[in-house]
Symmetry: none
Amino acid sequence: MLYRKAIVAIADGLGDRPHPLLDNRTPLEYAKTPNLDRLASKGITGMMDLISSGIPVGTDMGHLILFGYQPHHYPGRGPIEALGIGMDVKPGDIVLRCNFATVDENGVVVDRRAGRIREKTDEIAQAIDGMELEDGVQVYVKPATEHRAVLIMRGGGLSDKISDSDPKAPNDGKPYHQVEALDSSEEAKRTAHLLNLFLKKAHSILSFHPVNVERSEQGKLPANFILTRGAGQVTQLEPIVQQLNFKGSCIAGESTVLGVAQLAGFRTVTDNRMTGNIDTDIELKARLAIEEIANNDLVYVHLKAPDIKGHDNEPFEKARAIELFDRMVGLIVQQLPDNVYLALAADHSTPCEVGEHTGEPVPVLIYGPSIRRDRVQQYNELDCAYGGLGHLSGSEFITTLHGLMGYVKKQGN
Amino acid sequence: MLYRKAIVAIADGLGDRPHPLLDNRTPLEYAKTPNLDRLASKGITGMMDLISSGIPVGTDMGHLILFGYQPHHYPGRGPIEALGIGMDVKPGDIVLRCNFATVDENGVVVDRRAGRIREKTDEIAQAIDGMELEDGVQVYVKPATEHRAVLIMRGGGLSDKISDSDPKAPNDGKPYHQVEALDSSEEAKRTAHLLNLFLKKAHSILSFHPVNVERSEQGKLPANFILTRGAGQVTQLEPIVQQLNFKGSCIAGESTVLGVAQLAGFRTVTDNRMTGNIDTDIELKARLAIEEIANNDLVYVHLKAPDIKGHDNEPFEKARAIELFDRMVGLIVQQLPDNVYLALAADHSTPCEVGEHTGEPVPVLIYGPSIRRDRVQQYNELDCAYGGLGHLSGSEFITTLHGLMGYVKKQGN
């Protein structure tokens, strides 16, 4: 078999709709993207639905598929977040996403985000991390971005069929919710009981934590409670790099993407200069992509900015973010070794008029050696609908790439 | 319902990639194919993935799907080979693929192919064919192409969960492997025991076989051993011709294709002048296709040569093989009765730069009465991506054809 390497450049939330402020063009059509268009004219293009037509996906699900898993392998947001912030995750663990929050003496939620706390959450988490509960069940807590955290319950006989303590509604004057079993299993009852116990103990400890005492003195809301949501149990997933027997690497600034990459068995490369926004260092990313492909078979390089600007309903800013993607791709092409494919993809659409992920397909492209070049000249949501790859699912797209690389097993003889 | 007949012309391994020696065109683009292009301009075209995007398939799997089965119906290579060489195969049989080989007095494999023996393998097989083992288990051996053979074990309580006696590595100075059970079932242990017994007995008989005595005198390696591999148990598959209630026929020179045709319940038509290579008799094939369609509803006519030239990394030769296909199709069109569809298909891509089957889609075409003609003017991997059939799976394509023929059952009322 002829084996080849590939770099996949992902523009998060790239897909959009024609926008009146952009003369009814999409941000991708409106942006000046000479590098992307040159690749379109030399490569093969198509339109990709991550799961299927019309179904919006989250960044985690989108990347799970782009890394080579099937949608039903989705392990829940929690495990991906946990991996993304460097927590050790084991099969059987119950993983919950959390907020540091402020409650009053009656347990009423004063602020779901503890005044959007950003500082010293590591010290606060440390005070309750590694707590031993009954029957050898342990709880681990690590801070994530800003007011967020991840909580892991570890020990036999646990279940993710439990409700959220987070009331979700912001500051509605109601107490936090008691965690309840969502099915009649003993495991769910036990897990709910243990988690309620933990939340109480954590509250006692955090109420007198020096960081919170200091915050109260400064008139800030104390982070004296952990609101939990989205429990998920970790199952054993075989890393993609093992399934296909190659080496992979992922360059990204965002913990969700890094978490999926870890799950898939990819080496993760990150740096403070990768900000997850428009001020990210694209020269660094491009340089790392070229460095990483020397020692890996498949390298992902991710740019978050287009998605952020879509969520912010900013079409001009989104076009700018896409021009950044174009320049990053241009830098990669300049140094792309012969015999290495370069693919362009996105994890979902985030139309500026919506400000949320939607289910419209995204344009995809593969450029490289002996590719079946199609007639499409521009990389955007409309031209790529006429591409040689046709209209395909995320799994089909990534299997196409794996196939070109030589790693898909023949069926039959 | 309006019933119509169809002829399907299959160019084995047709799909390819742009090749530098062909001005960056694929062999199918490069070849002069006036007949195929005329059909494209009058018919409807598309791109077909036999199973799904990026997944390579073997000739057996590709044809299984083209004959109307689903990929999960794949019975293993052995049963297809056995059927292809005219062996009687029954549900429950264990079928193994074999090589005639040479071993020394210690059982060390001197040559896995007995000096690539081609002559008198029928006499050698006959000496051990039909042997009765313990408990009424019988063994049948028939020669296949060159040094290859097929072995069938028949009798109750057998299992295909057994290892290979073939050490695979060519001439590594190691003895042939004892066959072992691959699971803990009594059936597997019994089957392994019986097969080891057979291999010993066969070795005793073949060591003194006149053909081998003669070979030794001529300084040739004797075919004194049977190396077995790829055990598979035959399950009952309902023939396609029964499922759809029509009559079918297949014209081919290759045993794999003929085996799949038998499995699907198609009449098989072959002849020594169909060589499985570029010297095959296309006039004969075209004439037989027209003869067979008189008494059948669906006729397949197969040309192996493009695949062979792809495996040989010969783009010019592959283009020549495709021109042969074009002429064969031209001869069929000349005499095609009114009201009969003519479809073009391939079982997989075999790009010359790779020399192996790959997962890229192949162009397909249907020409005939009242077809929804599209705008495509040429039959190749790039133009057909713009065809009216779109991008479809092998099962979807063949169901499209069965549907046009009037044989697909309505769902609902």
